[in-house]
């Protein structure tokens, strides 16, 4: 099962001939992702590792058949155009890897996606992995690493940090626990699928028996997860860690989202709110595997 992507998902890459596009096409293909086409305007007829390149998403769709997912690797200034193109062509899931996408562009993508019933992960995401099935984005870097670091199993991971998505998933794998799907939701203030939306998907996925969440200061995502738990819409065990305890209010770190806004969004309020509703908030990343074992009864 897993969420969002599996071995049957039909995937394209927008910007497949660029610096990152080429390298990550290899990662995805080697891992087993069903990569059916790439798109770079003006490059139709070429191929990247045997994957045919087309001039537009619509053209790729017409020649190769329906597209479930588009992974976007174009420069930040061109992301809006690429994302709207995919949404208009009928693609229902986008993974927007680039960072530094202007926030008003993201709002427009979100509005158009909502109108068309499409969803997106990112921007500023490393992507996601359903271990043993498919990789979307650049997570793991190379297929052999992604296979070694992330093994299949019952735990869903959602993280606002790319590096921590890999780190937590690796530590869980090392502890003998496996993963259903791991998602880097993206580091920006406004993102497509955020923690609460990912938790709702984990709730519906029979393969996922529990979830781990890496939260950060800033935004209201973690508070909204607490709301889900409180209202009984997320009932599986949840282990959480919140980063940024040491951050001074007003000091911005690399994630645009990591900024303290009012009283919601601070480290203390997030931890308090999550604990109130029974989420297992740990104080150190290193405590996550043991806590996960405990709640799984593994």
């Amino acid at each position: 099962m897993a969420i969002l992507v599996n071995e049957n998902s039909r995937v394209i890459i927008q910007g497949i001939t660029g610096r990152e596009g080429v390298v990550r096409a290899q990662l995805m293909k080697d891992y087993g992702t069903k990569l059916v086409a790439g798109v770079t305007p003006g490059r139709a007829g070429q191929d990247v590792y045997g994957i045919p390149v087309y001039d537009s998403v619509l053209q790729a769709w017409e020649k190769q058949g329906p597209v479930d997912v588009s992974v976007i690797f174009v420069p930040a200034a061109l992301v809006k155009n690429a994302a709207l193109e995919a949404v208009d062509a009928g693609v229902k899931l986008l993974v927007i890897v680039p960072d530094r996408v202007p926030i008003h562009d993201v709002l427009e993508i979100a509005a158009r996606a909502a109108e068309k019933g499409a969803r997106f992960v990112g921007p500023n995401t490393l992507g996601l992995v359903s271990p043993g099935k498919a990789v979307l984005g650049m997570i793991g870097g190379r297929a052999e690493r992604a296979r070694e670091w992330f093994k299949p199993g019952p735990i869903g991971v959602s993280s606002r940090s790319g590096g921590m998505t890999s780190a937590i998933s690796y530590y869980l794998t090392k502890a003998g626990l496996g993963l259903s799907t791991i998602v880097h939701v993206g580091g920006d203030a406004v993102i497509g699928l955020s923690h609460p939306e990912i938790m709702a998907l984990f709730q519906e996925d029979p393969e996922t028996r529990m979830a781990v969440m890496f939260g950060e200061i800033g935004t209201t995502q973690e508070e909204r997860v607490a709301d889900l738990v409180e209202s009984g819409r997320f009932t599986k065990p949840l282990v959480a860690y919140i980063g940024g305890k040491a951050a001074k209010s007003g000091t911005r770190f690399s994630h645009a989202g990591a900024i303290v806004e009012g009283t919601r969004g601070s480290y203390e309020t997030k931890v308090k709110r999550l604990r109130e509703v029974g989420v297992h908030v740990v104080d150190a990343i290193a405590d996550i595997p043991a806590k996960a074992k405990e709640v799984l009864g593994a």
């Binding site: 562009d105 203030a189 940024g244 770190f253």
Partner: protein
């Protein structure tokens, strides 16, 4: 987020058709007088700084005459407010205020839409008002595809009791504020107070726009020096760092100074994180061992070795630090030998005199750790490399032990000595620097190891000497990835004939200044 000053924000409001009080910005008392003369009425003089509560600290003054305006401006200019020295004041017509409102636009991350907030009570108490009487505050999310029509603004205002002649004026203003925010890529736009004067006119008496960092490139006219969140003007070292970042789109290099002064009894260290989450976790680990950070720095997103090198050089421009701590998530997707080579070049050039703990877990960490261990064993400071199975807590403890062992030695900033390009050297340009081969040294070389070491494989041998196998143009455009592998191989295994010259504009002068102002032993 890039903040605009009040006078800049007001200019944008005015362009968007929102009334602001007549006036202008002044950098000298004489200018202030001229502005007051032009206004020809009593004026208000306001310091231009990014702090709230200016009135409470005497930063807002009134003047009845141009002479008085000049005198008041003289008082205000040069005033020190937190980290600011006031260098500009806004001189404006004094308004005859009858009532005050609040209006603000922010981005609602949950709705993924702009959110407009209006409060019939403006001024400083607006936050308390929102908390105690949320029903008195109007809120409305905006559909970005359809915009914000005037009638929606009107209905929003009616709900909180706005009526009469003022209603259409305010609804018009609200729709304009949304357009100003959208046109100028603002992440937030606030008018507080929005005032109604005795004659029934509406003015934005104070306002504050914050521009989205990621969209600053669309607005060069704003003159934003560093498109990042600051609650004070950027430091000189931050400006130097930002110029590095600006000129090299490959990966991220973010640098922020946490303190002005690293002297005293505190244990300051240079901090080099990688990735937001991993950096924060690593920061917590060192803070828990009683260290203080001189700076926060993030090199992530697959930066080339040259960028990490420059980051290390910037970090090591801070005198008095007792250690260097580099640590990210621990399981990075990027190839970690690039960071290892960048640090190796920087540390060996600097003859690093303090301990360094480098946690480079992730893709190819074994190679990365080996690079640090092999090439940095002979410098004065102890350097230890760790991988994904070594926790940040463990690494922080190691740094503590090494700092204790060094006797708490403090880092001395060295002058930058640029290696000259040897006469007759073979030289080509790279994306952000240049590479020189002193071919006169090549005859003694046994291995010619620079050619296989080159990661992008752009070198070949010609008469036993390394030269480009691609065009100089391609090398400059990025075929040379500045991986530093050739230089490090040649320096440590062969003849030290290769130098990758990576200038950091302004750093040499900065260090000279640091050394002359604060001589340290």
């Amino acid at each position: 987020m890039a903040r605009l000053f009040e006078y800049q924000s007001k200019k944008l409001l005015k362009q968007g058709g929102i009334p602001v009080p007549g006036g202008d910005v002044a950098a000298t008392p004489e200018e202030a007088r001229r502005v007051a003369e032009k206004i020809g009425k009593p004026v208000v003089i306001k310091i231009q700084v990014w702090v709230t509560g200016r009135a409470g600290i005497g930063g807002i003054q009134f003047a009845a005459t141009p002479e008085e305006a000049e005198a008041k401006a003289r008082q205000l200019l040069g005033m020190k407010v937190r980290n600011f020295v006031v260098d500009r004041v806004l001189v404006e017509e004094k308004l005859d205020i009858r009532s005050e409102y609040f209006v603000g636009l922010v981005i609602d991350d949950a709705a993924k839409k702009p959110l407009l907030i209006f409060s019939p009570a403006g001024g400083t108490g607006v936050e308390e008002m929102a908390r105690l009487h949320p029903e008195k505050i109007a809120r409305r999310t905006i559909d970005v595809l359809n915009g914000f029509p005037e009638y929606e603004a009107r209905n929003m205002l009616l709900r909180v009791g706005i009526e009469g002649a003022i209603l259409p004026k305010l609804s018009d203003l609200l729709t304009r504020l949304y357009k100003v925010a959208r046109t100028n890529d603002a992440r937030s736009a606030e008018i507080n107070p929005l005032v109604v004067t005795a004659d029934g006119s509406v003015f934005a008496a104070d306002c504050h726009l914050v521009v989205d960092d990621y969209a600053v490139y669309r607005h060069p006219d704003f003159g934003i020096e560093i498109a990042r969140e600051f609650d004070r003007p950027p430091t000189e070292l931050e400006k130097i760092a930002y110029r590095v970042e600006e000129k090299d789109y490959r990966g991220t290099f973010y640098f922020f100074q946490m303190v002005d002064e690293t002297a005293g009894s505190e244990k300051y260290i240079g901090f080099n994180g990688a990735g937001g989450g991993g950096s924060m976790m690593s920061m917590d680990a060192v803070l828990n061992r009683g260290f203080k950070l001189a700076n926060y720095c993030d090199t992530s997103g697959n930066p080339p070795a040259s960028k990490v090198y420059r980051a290390a050089k910037v970090i090591l421009s801070q005198p008095g630090i007792m250690g260097y701590f580099a640590s990210g998530s621990g399981v990075a997707s990027q190839e970690q030998y690039h960071s290892a080579r960048g640090l190796t070049k920087a540390f060996s050039e600097e003859k690093l005199d303090i301990p360094a703990v480098i946690r480079l877990g992730g893709n190819f960490e074994e190679t990365a750790i080996e690079i640090l261990g092999t090439y940095l064993k002979d410098i004065p400071g102890a350097v230890e490399g760790y991988g994904r199975d070594d926790s940040p807590e463990f690494c922080a403890r190691r740094l503590e032990e090494l700092v204790a062992k060094s006797g708490g030695k403090r880092h001395e900033v060295r002058p930058i000595v640029e290696t000259p390009v040897p006469a007759g050297a073979y030289v080509f340009e790279t994306m952000t620097g240049r590479l020189s081969f002193d071919h006169s040294k090549c005859p003694g070389c046994r291995t010619k190891g620079c050619v296989p070491a080159c990661a992008p494989k752009i070198l070949k041998l010609e008469d036993g000497k390394p030269v480009l196998a691609v065009s100089a143009e391609d090398a400059r455009k990025g075929k040379c990835t500045e991986c530093l592998a050739c230089e490090i191989f040649c320096k440590f295994h062969e003849r030290d004939a290769i130098v990758v010259h990576l200038p950091i504009p302004g750093l040499k002068e900065y260090r000279e200044k640091i050394r002359s102002v604060k001589p340290r032993t």
